[in-house]
Structure formats: C-alpha cells, structure tokens
C-alpha cells in the first residue's frame, strides 16, 4: 500500500497527495454514497490511529478498543464533519480523547500533555507505562533501529507520542496533526520543532549512529 512508501525527498506539498488528502477523497466518496470507500479509509488511517492510541500509553487491547470506537464515532458523526480534509485530525483527536477516558476510568495516570494545568515535569510522566514494549522485542530491531530506540526512549513522553504519530503521516500534515495531538503550535512543521531537534541532536552526538 502506498502508505508504506517513504516520503523522503518529496519536493513540495503538491507533488503527491498527502495522507490527509487521500483520506479526504475517500471520505468524500463515502459521504456521496459510495460506501465501499469507508473500507479504504480504514486501511489508510488505522496505522496512524493505532500509534496515536499506543503513544498515549494504552495497552494493546485497550488501544484496539479505542481505535474501533473512534471509527464508529466517525460513522455516527459523518455528516457533522464540514471539511473532509479534517477527517484525519478528527479521528486522531477522538482517539486521544477516548484514550484519555479509558486511562482515567482505569485509574491510571493520564499523560501529562492532557493536563495542561499541571506543570509538566519529567517525574510526572514516569507513571505506569503500559504503552512500552517488552525489552526482549527490541532485539528484533536492526542495529540502527535499536540505537534510535534508545534515543527515542530518552525523549520526554509527549515528544515520543508526537514523533510516533508524525512518522506515519506526510510532511504537509505535520502541523495539523500536531495540533490534533494537543501540542503547541510550532511543535513540528514547518520548522523542525523541539522534539525532533532533541532527537536529532542526540543522534548527531552519538558517534556510533549513522543515518542509513
């Protein structure tokens, strides 16, 4: 599927349809009565939504539920979405809200980026981390990916969540997605933003890292 194709080297926003635009096309067709397009939309966007839910540190089972719920909400509220270009952002926001609801119900700590009234310090994010993976699994990564994994894990939780989702969309969509994730304007796109800058600085300072 084209969602797996690398976006590197894309010269401009208009060169290829972004994920947002492809989603808008599928959603428009669906709303015009071509119901099969909902299946396309599900195939297209579920990976982003999965990583959104997991980035909120839900366990795999809860993440599945939350992603399914978001899709059902979309069908229920399809007519309320004015701009088809907004469908990706709408789903990501819905997943985030649902994840927040599930975490709160289960009495687990809610990610700090959903609690702006609390000062976001490193200690606040050190709660039950259900979204992490079995360290044994890390062994399946390539050598370069393992290095990257260690540097990513050293980032603040909200940066990890942001980069995880951004990595699954196309460059022109970064700013809108970052907003849907509740991140401040300028977190990523059009500039690099703090999260990616931190990761890049860490990698460049790592003499064993080579970006290949």
């Amino acid at each position: 599927m084209s969602i797996d194709s690398p976006t590197a080297g894309m010269p401009s926003a208009d060169a290829a349809p972004t994920l947002t635009r492809r989603a808008a096309q599928a959603f428009t067709a669906y709303r015009d009565g071509e119901r099969d397009w909902m299946g396309e939309l599900v195939d297209l966007l579920t990976p982003v939504l999965w990583h959104t839910a997991r980035g909120q540190r839900l366990d795999r089972s809860s993440a599945e539920d939350v992603v399914q719920t978001a899709w059902i909400r979309l069908v229920e509220h399809a007519d309320a979405i004015q701009d088809p270009q907004a469908v990706l952002g709408w789903l990501v926001t819905t997943v985030r809200r649902e994840a927040w609801r599930v975490l709160r119900q289960s009495g687990r700590a809610v990610p700090t980026d959903d609690l702006p009234e609390e000062p976001a310090g490193p200690s606040a994010a050190r709660s039950v981390d259900a979204g992490t993976v079995d360290p044994a699994l890390v062994a399946v990564l390539h050598e370069g990916q393992q290095q990257l994994w260690h540097h990513v894990k050293a980032l603040p939780q909200r940066c990890q969540a942001l980069l995880r989702v951004i990595a699954f969309v196309d460059r022109p969509d970064y700013a809108a997605l970052s907003e849907a994730l509740g991140m401040p304007v300028g977190s990523i796109g059009p500039t690099r933003g703090r999260c990616l800058a931190k990761l890049r600085a860490a990698l460049l300072a790592d003499p064993t890292w080579s970006p290949s």
Binding site: W71, I72, R192, A201
Partner: protein, 172 residues
Amino acid sequence: MNPDESTLASEPLDTLDEQLLLTVRNMHARLDPVPSGLTERIKFELTLAALHAEIAELQQLSPAGVRGDETTYAPTQSVTFTTSRLSLMVTVTAPSDDLLEEPAAQGTITVDGWVTIGGTVVELRVGDLSLTVTADEHGRFVLEGVPHGPGRFVLRPPGEGERPIITPSVEL
C-alpha cells in the same frame, strides 16, 4: 534546551529529518505493529453500525461433514447460525468430490443453505465480493462459484422495517 537545540528547532525540516522520521516509523511498525485482523474487525463493526444489524450466533461448526465414512474426502462444512428471529444452516462443498487429485484450495465452492423464513434475501460477502440470492418459499437457497476465504452472511427477512441479520465470519 541548549542553544544548539534551539537553533535546530527553529530550522526548517530537511531531508535528514524525513529520513529520521522514516526510521522512527519503521521502528514502531516493527516493534508494535497494528494487530493482525484489526482493520477487518473495524470494517465489520462499521458494517453492523451502518446496517443497524443484529448479530447471529455461530451455533455449530462441523468441519468433518455429515458423512462419516473415510472415503468422503472432499472438505464439507456445515454451520448453523441463530438469532431470536431465525436460524440459518449452510453446508459448504468443494467441487473436488470426484477430482481428488486437485487441491481443494483451487477453484470455488458451493454453498447450500436453508433459512427458517422463506423469501429471505441472503447476501454472502467474501472479501470484496458480494453474492446475493433470495431463498425460496421453503427457505432454501444455493450459491455457486463462491471463492475461498473468510465470509459472512447478511440476511434480510421479508417485510417492512425488519432489521438485517449479520453472521460472524467463517472460513469458507
């Protein structure tokens, strides 16, 4: 954030960033993949929601078929689904009965069915394919040329305002 990071943060995204994000993406896809079958389960849930359908229960699955003798090699499956309103029985036959040397996975299958309400419109969905037939007054129907794969039935009993019934997916 140190000054180097501040500078880095205010620069426009470049190709190295895209390369980094691609690596991040591959890492997550490898480490924490979307569960297999999740998109299919979502599509099913959405179909249910769109149809306002009732889900039938899978009652019985007999992969051995009804004829117990060992000479009957062709894979036959009988399945029964029930809801409070009706029952559906289907028998799946691979037409390899007299062509034993041909792998059964090749070609198509025949679905013989009986539904307890005559005149019910029976739709079988296998992959992207949808086959529809109307059961006769006794509730009997036959679907031929059905491809292998996971399939589910959508039943629309005759009569105004009847909710459709949808079955769980079974391997055909």
